[in-house]
């Protein structure tokens, strides 16, 4: 893991440009003109300009962490799942509203070792950082595949930014995504050419996304795995890759107060001791972890 773009010092007030549903999720966009272009896997600390510190519980009080799902035309995109007071406020934002943003923060994904294909494995809202990562990877892919952005019907030609000349030659990227049900599975629109699994079998493979991963690895283990999702999923990704000694980069989550290494609140246990997810991660090499514990993952 090496990709780290430094953030401007201090939070900035952005303007919301769109907030649209994407199945069970919402996609929030905000104009970040002066903002640095994030590396895939980095995140931002977000808070609404209004009603943050509000509600009968006086929560949310602290900002919340969200992966950049895409960064396009000077707009930061975030994929939101309403799980509590903070995400609820963010989901309620309307075009023109104010959004406090501190970022980009943390360490993002690193390119696969030469010759290895990228294998993206996402669970639930954890697919967000994989979307922007696929954008980056596709910019380096040999032949360029149609890339719909949110909500577009496949075949549209409105495509995200791509570097004119590929950085390197990569084999195609494989994308495996798992969701609770069909409503959540619509989140897959965020990525391209993905194979799906749902817990209720309503879409794609009936079962765990890690079952798809196992099959993929058994077919061809010459890959670097990039995963983000709930702790149990990340743990089995870690285990599957460890058995086959495939290198994996896991985007972890943890409750955060600051996002820039100040509070030491976001730690996860690693072989080398506690790591701060916000500065040592969120993307951490699976090899650094003995086990992905409950507190290493998305709070839900």
């Amino acid at each position: 893991m090496s990709e780290r773009i430094a953030a401007p010092f201090g939070r900035r007030l952005l303007t919301v440009t769109a907030n649209e549903p994407l199945g069970a999720y919402r996609v929030l966009r905000a104009a970040a003109p002066d903002g640095a272009q994030p590396a895939a896997g980095q995140f931002a600390m977000l808070a609404t300009a209004e009603r943050w510190g509000a509600g009968t519980d006086d929560r949310p009080y602290l900002p919340r962490a969200f992966s950049y799902a895409r960064f396009q035309d000077g707009e930061a995109h975030f994929l939101l799942e309403d799980v509590g007071p903070g995400t609820r406020r963010l989901c309620e934002l309307r075009e023109g509203d104010g959004l406090w943003l501190l970022g980009p923060l943390g360490r993002g994904f690193a390119m696969p070792e030469q010759g290895r294909r990228a294998l993206l494995v996402g669970g639930g809202v954890g697919i967000a950082p994989l979307a922007i990562w696929q954008d980056e990877l596709s910019a380096s892919e040999p032949l360029f595949t149609n890339t719909p952005s949110f909500g577009d019907t496949p075949g549209s030609d409105d495509a995200p930014r791509v570097d004119s000349e590929p950085r390197s030659n990569l084999p195609h990227t494989t994308v495996l995504l798992g969701f609770r049900d069909s409503a959540h599975a619509e989140g897959a629109m965020l990525l391209r050419n993905s194979q799906l699994a749902t817990d209720d079998g309503s879409v794609g493979h009936h079962g765990r996304v890690t079952e798809l991963l196992r099959a993929e690895l058994d077919r061809d283990a010459h890959a670097t795995v990039y995963a983000c999702g709930p702790p149990p999923m990340l743990e089995s990704v870690r285990a599957l890759c460890a058995e086959r000694d495939v290198s994996a980069q896991l985007a972890l989550e943890a409750g955060m107060a600051c996002g820039f290494g100040a509070c030491y609140g976001c730690v996860v246990p690693a072989r080398s001791g506690y790591l701060r997810v916000c500065v040592d991660g969120p993307v951490i090499a699976a090899a650094e972890l003995e086990h992905v514990g409950i507190h290493a993952g998305s709070p839900q």
Binding site: R4, A6, A7, P8, F9, G10, R11, A47, G53, D57, D58, R59, P60, Y61, L62, P63, W100, L102, L105, G106, A254, G255, M256, A257, C258, G259, F260, G261, A262, C263, Y264, G265, C266, V267, V268, P269, G273, Y274, R276, C278, V279, H295
Partner: protein, 300 residues
């Protein structure tokens, strides 16, 4: 706007609360912007102990109403590695360095002071006798007699300004401050966090008498942020009335008006902690507005 503090000239009266800002991690997150826009007039390190500490198991954070409970547990690499690895990096800061230390015995404290005494990078030492997250130090700070005895025993080891960070979890904080002054402290700082705890939300309805389902990995923690400001203001006022040495006031400072109030009740400096988590550059704004006559006014 510049202030004299224990013989040290500071550009303005706003510094950070120990353990609420990690300049080294912030440099990773914000790059050179951190040094160019460093918000504090002096930098106070996280508490350093003689031997390394891993800190408490996660979760370490709980968001309270207008406050934050932390159960970090004073993780630090220990005196030796702090001096070898961190001091060189901290020496690059453009502001004076105050190293915060804690020991559970007179011998420990003495050797911590001795070590700091020999390092020119360190302008002053803050002795933490007040961290509610760990057992050590607590009794010393809460008992005036014990506090004075300890300080008298170690004071001569340090030929630099000594700041004693008092505990708010005591019966008479002014008496403790006076004891610190008698013991040779050149300044006192307060308040540290108020002992607090929280229960795991999902089990709030299940009654398990005797063994409640505590949320924090460390069991209990310390409350900081807006919620404690009225308590902090009262303690700082009481202390400033009793002692002649300068006072560093902190506890829930969110803006210049709050900072001004701490100065009004007699503090020489104001420290910002939790609010930096919401915006790392808030201290710059506070210092600027304190400077402009009508700044805090406009915040009323």
């Amino acid at each position: 706007m510049s202030v004299e503090f224990c013989g040290i000239e500071l550009a303005h009266p706003v510094i950070n609360g120990s353990g609420t800002f990690d300049a080294i991690a912030a440099r990773r997150a914000f790059g050179k912007a951190l040094d160019e826009e460093f918000p504090f007039a002096a930098f106070v390190s996280k508490t350093i102990t003689l031997t390394p500490r891993a800190g408490n198991p996660p979760p370490r954070l709980w968001e309270a109403q207008a406050g934050l409970i932390n159960s970090i547990g004073l993780p630090n690499k220990g005196l030796e590695r702090y001096i070898a690895e961190d001091l060189p990096e901290l020496a690059q800061l453009t502001v004076p360095l105050i190293t915060n230390v804690m020991g559970s015995t007179i011998e420990e404290i003495a050797s911590l002071l001795q070590a700091c005494d020999t390092r020119s990078e360190i302008a002053a030492v803050e002795l933490n006798v007040s961290c509610p997250n760990v057992q050590t130090g607590l009794d010393i700070g809460a008992d005036p007699l014990a506090l004075e005895r300890v300080l008298c025993a170690v004071r001569e080891e340090l030929h630099k300004p000594l700041i004693v960070k008092l505990t708010p979890n005591c019966a008479d904080v002014a008496a403790c401050a006076l004891a610190a002054q008698e013991g040779g402290a050149n300044a006192v700082s307060l308040i540290n966090t108020l002992r607090a705890t929280a229960l795991r939300p999902a089990t709030g309805h299940k009654r398990i008498i005797g063994q409640p389902d505590l949320w924090l990995g460390g069991g209990s923690g310390g409350l900081s942020g807006a919620a404690i400001r009225p308590v902090a203001l009262a303690q700082v006022a009481a202390v400033a009335k009793r002692v002649t040495i300068p006072v560093v006031g902190m506890g829930g400072v969110q803006n210049a008006l709050h900072a001004r109030q701490f100065l009004d009740v007699g503090a020489r400096l104001v420290a910002v902690g939790t609010e930096s988590f919401r915006d790392p550059s808030i201290a710059t704004r506070i210092a600027t507005e304190l400077d402009s006559a009508n700044g805090p006014h406009s915040l009323i």
